[in-house]
């Protein structure tokens, strides 16, 4: 009897152990959205959200997610070591100032926050997950850049709608503002400018406040979840050193963890964006912590680890490096025939008088940012690979990211000014009438670091070895060669088709450009530049010269911080001109008309309706 009981006990233990092993395996390896090592009320992990047809999600997605998460944790540990090595600043003076190492303290805090995976419901997404150093702090997964465009958020596989913008120099964008003599808006952050900076007087700091509560990114359901998670962060002492002892002393209700581990948009929350019940004084404190979150991350992004002004072009400006003939030709084309500096301002050119020749040189000690902080509709085609189009059904939590499906159109700044679908509330109603003039316009990015890649994959261009990036707001362009060719020939090879439907005998992105997603306000500065193939290549070369981390004394080794953290694989083969064409898919035909939730919001798009 005793023997039978013992046998039964052994079997029971084995079953329990096996169950634990299997469930752990499921959580961490298959699902990746469990809360390893942490409690919570969730007994079983929610199932994947996968409304996508075959081929939208890359085959190596789970493997690549875990690869990037490992790199994120590596940098987080590095930041913890930097904090431990930091001589504490001294709070002194009036107003009180962190004397000595205040700069380093705030930037280290920002770095720790930026790479902290705990700041998401499933504790699997840090800001850095979509913004890694080796890509100039843009998207780090080559297969995602090639296929689904937007990055998978904490609840897998919800995804956003646009490419991950680079952090580098983003704090230099001013608060979104109207220039009256131009009747144009400048500044802000995000492709659509929805982070205005109106409250913190920093577009970049406010930018850092959006992803943590974006339903398809970190997806925390309440901004106070950040303060809640910071209370138990290893680096809480540093936060209190910078922002004050007691700044995190907030009394959270007992169900806070349950709320914070449920992704935003869940039906259980309804329209409540502050489901954590806090006393007014605690809510005010949590809001203040959230402001400090944005400010700390912004200062990290502005610092030497992210935006150091150490490119080859900077070295040339400072007289430390002489361009090769191709680089010099590219620099001259950039301001000349290529017309790039009409928007990507190099800051130093002057109006040439008759007989003067551009020598490609700049004033010494300038720090041009290669953007005008403006917005432009370049006429890119709708990209049917964008994961956003397919999220038309409710997920496990009852949330549907895009009920409009292919009726969605990305009007960029125009939709933001209308406080429209998929953007954010516009805090300045005086600008609403400008919306029709801004439809289709997306932010003019800095050219700096557009070409940055990990050292082992030293280029973005096939045949490589190369690192697959994605360019512009919808990732339609897959190489810098294509990018320049688009500017050069958009209006030379236009076809009244959508992507995936170029006529027989033509090659998409080579001698066939599908029609624009948004036909209004198309910028005609570019489109038929008359550049030769060699001139296109020279422009790519000078863009590569804008990668930070160039050391004139040792030009073959990048000094860019954390550029060596990539642990994935490079790609090889093919040509830059047709890079990624193997994954083109046909846009649905007929393409549903633009939904009234986007194109029917006043003031209506003009002069003609958007199809």
């Amino acid at each position: 009897m005793r023997e039978r009981r013992l046998t039964a006990l052994v079997i029971l233990c084995a079953v329990v152990a096996a169950t634990l092993l299997i469930s752990t395996e499921f959580l961490s390896a298959q699902n990746g959205q469990g809360k390893e090592g942490k409690g919570g009320d969730r007994d079983t992990p929610p199932p994947f959200y996968n409304p996508y047809p075959p081929g939208i999600l890359p085959a190596d997605l789970l493997q690549e997610i875990e690869r990037v998460r490992g790199e994120v944790r590596f940098i987080e540990n590095e930041a913890l070591a930097e904090w431990q090595a930091l001589t504490p600043p001294t709070l002194t003076g009036q107003p009180p100032t962190l004397e000595g190492t205040g700069y380093q303290a705030v930037q280290t805090l920002g770095k720790l926050m930026n790479f902290d995976e705990h700041m998401s419901p499933f504790e699997n997404r840090a800001c850095g997950f979509c913004h890694m150093p080796y890509t100039g702090f843009s998207g780090p997964i080559p297969s995602v850049n090639l296929t689904m465009i937007a990055y998978p958020g904490s609840f897998q596989f919800r995804a956003g709608k646009r490419t991950a913008q680079r952090y580098t120099y983003s704090p230099r964008y001013p608060v979104l503002q109207l220039y009256p003599d131009q009747a144009l808006l400048f500044g802000g952050n995000f492709w659509d400018g929805r982070s205005t900076g109106y409250l913190l007087q920093s577009a970049d700091a406010e930018q850092a406040q959006h992803p943590p509560v974006d339903t398809q990114e970190h997806a925390l359901p309440d901004t106070a979840c950040i303060a809640f998670r910071l209370q138990t962060a290893a680096y809480r002492p540093l936060f209190e050193t910078v922002w004050g002892v007691g700044s995190l002393d907030i009394k959270f209700p007992h169900n806070t963890e349950e709320i914070c581990e449920t992704p935003g948009g869940a039906a259980v929350f309804g329209t409540n964006t502050m489901p954590i019940q806090l006393k007014p004084e605690d809510r005010a404190k949590a809001n203040s912590v959230y402001d400090h979150w944005g400010q700390s991350i912004s200062f990290f992004e502005d610092g030497p680890q992210v935006s150091p002004f150490t490119s080859k072009v900077d070295a040339n400006i400072n007289g430390l490096y002489t361009y090769t003939p191709d680089e010099l030709a590219g620099a001259i084309l950039f301001a000349g025939k290529g017309n790039c500096n009409s928007c990507h301002i190099d800051g130093q050119r002057t109006l040439l008088t008759p007989g003067q020749t551009d020598t490609g040189t700049y004033a010494v000690n300038a720090r041009p940012l290669f953007t005008c902080f403006g917005y432009s509709n370049l006429g890119l085609p709708l990209n049917p690979r964008d994961a956003f189009f397919y999220q038309t059904t409710p997920d496990f939590f009852g949330f549907t990211a895009n009920p409009l499906g292919f009726g969605y159109r990305d009007l960029g700044l125009g939709t933001f000014l209308r406080s429209g679908f998929g953007s954010a509330p516009n805090p300045n109603s005086a600008w609403i009438p400008l919306a029709p003039r801004m439809d289709g316009r997306q932010q003019v990015s800095t050219v700096r670091n557009v070409a940055m890649t990990p050292p082992q994959c030293p280029t973005t261009e096939a045949p490589g070895p190369y690192f697959q990036k994605e360019f512009f707001h919808n990732g339609y362009i897959k190489s810098l060669k294509q990018l320049v060719h688009f500017y050069n020939t958009r209006d030379k090879f236009p076809f009244p088709v959508t992507s995936g439907h170029c006529p027989a005998g033509t090659t998409e992105k080579v001698d066939c450009w599908p029609m624009p997603e948004v036909p209004d306000n198309i910028d005609m500065t570019v489109g038929n530049l008359g550049l030769t193939d060699q001139e296109e290549n020279q422009l790519v070369i000078i863009m590569q010269g804008l990668n930070d981390g160039f050391d004139p004394a040792n030009p073959s080794v990048s000094t860019y911080p954390d550029i060596n953290t990539f642990t994935g694989k490079c790609m090889t083969g093919g040509t830059a001109a047709t890079q990624g064409n193997e994954v083109l898919i046909p846009t649905p035909t007929p393409l549903p008309a633009c939904a009234s939730a986007v194109c029917g919001v006043p003031p209506l798009p003009a002069p003609k309706p958007i199809p």
């Binding site: 109207l178 003599d181 301001a335 902080f373 403006g374 005609m524």
Partner: protein, 139 residues
């Protein structure tokens, strides 16, 4: 629209007096306004496809606001150019000349259109270009 722009201008000018931003120097520089803006080449047909027509011309750099609009007044009757198409461009501060290009869409096939061109600053102020009446026929 002009009243709106005036209101926006007053609001923004008030705001700019109350604050300054060290990064404004990076914005598109406002080049000096040319005394007179003259067409030096064109206007001419750059592209004529079934769904898209592009008209192109070159002037001296007009200066003023960095974003300008090329404007085409067109119609099937040379004495009644009642339709207008506008396309934005950005002035290149280092170029002595500026190429304007304007998109015309949804034109009738196999039809002769007459047109004149002008350009204007982004606030709607005309550059005062004098243009001949030209014509083209769609495919």
């Amino acid at each position: 629209m002009n009243k709106l722009l005036l209101k926006l201008a007053i609001a923004a000018a008030t705001g700019s007096l109350l604050s300054s931003n060290p990064t404004v120097a990076q914005l598109s520089p406002t080049t000096p306004k040319a005394a007179r803006v003259r067409i030096t080449q064109g206007p001419e047909l750059e592209l004529a496809k079934e769904y898209l027509t592009i008209i192109r011309w070159t002037t001296n750099n007009p200066g003023g606001s960095p974003e300008h609009f090329g404007v085409v007044h067109y119609g099937t009757d040379p004495k009644n150019l009642s339709q207008t198409a506008k396309s934005p461009i950005r002035l290149n501060p280092s170029h002595s000349s500026t190429i304007f290009r304007v998109r015309l869409q949804a034109l009738k096939p196999a039809t002769t259109y007459y047109y004149t061109v002008d350009s204007m600053e982004s606030n709607g102020k005309s550059d005062g270009v004098i243009s001949p009446v030209k014509k083209f026929t769609t495919p």
